[in-house]
Symmetry: C2
Subunit: 200 residues, 2 copies
């Protein structure tokens, strides 16, 4: 892990999607590797007694507007999928089924899944929907589908979610780098400055 | 009100304090007036069933660190007052007792109160503590104290809090300008860009 930027996100978060679109360029500018760690926010919401931002009175409507405004500012295509928030466990399982053998492939699949749902508005909830996206990247749907359904993968996802909770990853996106924590798309510029300067 | 920047904040919020230190310079750069509107976040927390950021598990500890990190980055002196979060109704009453007759004086008092508690770490909870700060700015403590205790002032504060709730001001700082809403110190740069460009 060393001096890599660890990037936690939930596939069902628009801000996680925006971060996915930006993190590799940021890392390249500061000469760092990245470690992508999708997880399930639902477990965290349960643990700290909160809810998805968009379900909170007042904050919900504002946040949706703010996400759309941020997307336009960053020139990132953005639409709302029909079902939102949504369960992202299938996407998570696909990622962890791949990541140990093919880290770059797992990142590319992650980005393709995020774009499928937040740029095209299509569902990535069902395993077969995830596999259809994976197939466009050259993955064999049967092979990947079997790996996603494997208990080893299920346990891996659970372990990663538990680990995120242990590390108090209470939001998305959430970054660890150089012993510092950064929560939110709106802390990415600060994180870049922190890495460049060694902190303040 | 016209094209002014309306600035809502709670005196007990560090991010509200940081915004107080920055808003006039921002407004001057874009050629806008400001309207300061302190209010009481407690009423909002009750309405939307949430709590002060710093009291939320995990998020609380992170947020405190993030506030300190932001203060250092912006070169704003910052310490934690002994009691935090705290009741800021006395500060609110002092502000609204002054603002109609002396808007600039009310802003100056607001900033002095915020600095007293977040730069010096002193309490501004009690009316006499608020009045001691006001006295250093040339206000007559007896006169201002009487105005703060007046039912007209108490009603004004309640009205402003109700108005904030009606306008769904669910956080601090919170800005309205050109029909757009911006929540958070970390949206001030975006707000400035929005005003300059006419939005996107």
């Amino acid at each position: 892990m060393s001096n890599a930027i660890e990037f936690y996100y939930d596939f069902s978060s628009p801000f996680g999607y925006f971060a996915s679109e930006r993190i590799e360029a940021l890392a390249a500018r500061v000469g760092r590797k990245t470690v992508w760690r999708p997880y399930l926010m639902g477990a965290v919401f349960k643990a700290i007694g909160t809810d998805s931002l968009v379900n909170i009175p007042m904050k919900g409507a504002y946040s949706k507007m703010d996400m759309e405004r941020n997307a336009r500012l960053m020139n990132i295509p953005f639409v709302w999928p029909e079902q939102f928030p949504f369960m992202s466990i299938a996407a998570c399982r696909a990622f962890y089924a791949l990541v140990d053998q093919d880290e770059e492939g797992a990142k590319a699949l992650s980005l393709a899944l995020s774009r499928k749902t937040f740029a095209e508005g299509q569902s990535i909830i069902k395993p077969e929907e995830v596999l259809a996206v994976a197939a466009t990247l050259g993955h064999d749907p049967e092979e990947l589908g079997a790996a996603m359904a494997d208990q080893v993968t299920k346990d891996r996802v659970r372990m990663e979610v538990d680990r995120a909770l242990e590390r108090e990853v209470f939001g998305t996106p959430f970054f660890f780098v150089d012993g510092e924590r950064f929560w939110g798309c709106d802390r990415m510029d600060m994180m870049e400055k922190w890495i460049e300067t060694g902190g303040w």
